[in-house]
């Protein structure tokens, strides 16, 4: 049988790939997509803990429903910011968003 640690390491690996993408890519759409990868990594960890735990099975799965709702809201607003940015400046580069720098 697959031990719990295997799922946690898979989750950690997916989270790291997502973090690499968020740090490395310039396009705001790509940053949002990599954030989704990190959400998915967290979901894997939550479901693994939920169904391997000795007590209170299913609690983590309920949390995943809320994570799905938050992820949908985050994608909708994040991509709308990207579209507004493109319509105002014809650019998607997150490095350009530095007018608020003091």
């Amino acid at each position: 049988m697959t031990p719990l640690q295997h799922y946690l390491v898979l989750s950690g690996a997916l989270f790291s790939v997502g973090a690499w993408g968020v740090l490395a890519r310039r396009s705001i759409i790509m940053v949002v997509m990599c954030l989704e990868l990190m959400f998915n990594a967290v979901n894997i960890a939550l479901v693994a803990f939920s169904n391997y735990a000795n007590a209170g099975a299913g609690r983590g799965e309920v949390f995943v429903f809320f994570v799905l709702a938050i992820a949908a809201a985050e994608v909708a607003v994040g991509l709308a910011i990207g579209i507004a940015m493109y319509r105002l400046r014809e650019k998607l580069d997150v490095d350009e968003l530095d007018e608020m720098r003091g």
Binding site: L68, A69, A72, A73, A76, A80
Partner: protein, 123 residues
């Protein structure tokens, strides 16, 4: 999980392999069997027997498509919450009914807002 239930995933995997394989097999076989004698007339774009409009295939794309997709995502999330609710609807009684009606009513406000902003109009 009963053995029958786990075994049914064998069919899911088989169907996925057949589905993906069908695409590559048909494209590959037609590539192997086809004859290729291209000339200018044959290579020109064909659109229902008329000359296609000249221009970019990346034509202007209205932001309204995005608004529709956005509303679809939000109501898809709502549907995911409704499935488990429908399963235990009887045992939840009146409070469960009220919970879901409040949830749907709040999301309905969002739809009404998008409607009032004119996001659903198609000029």
């Amino acid at each position: 999980m009963t053995p029958d239930f786990a075994q049914s995933y064998v069919y899911v995997v088989a169907l996925a392999i057949v589905g993906v394989g069908f695409v590559f097999a048909t494209l590959g076989i037609s590539r192997l069997l086809q004859l290729r004698h291209p000339y200018a007339e044959k290579l020109s774009p064909y659109e229902c027997g008329v000359e296609p409009l000249i221009g970019d295939s990346w034509s202007p794309f209205s932001v309204r498509y995005y608004i529709y997709a956005l509303l679809f995502v939000i109501f898809d999330v709502e549907a995911v919450f409704v499935y488990p609710w429908a399963l235990i609807f009887r045992s939840l009684g009146k409070t469960g009914f009220a919970e879901m009606m409040i949830f749907i009513a709040v999301l309905l406000f969002g739809l009404l807002y998008a409607w009032a902003k004119g996001a659903l109009e198609w000029q």
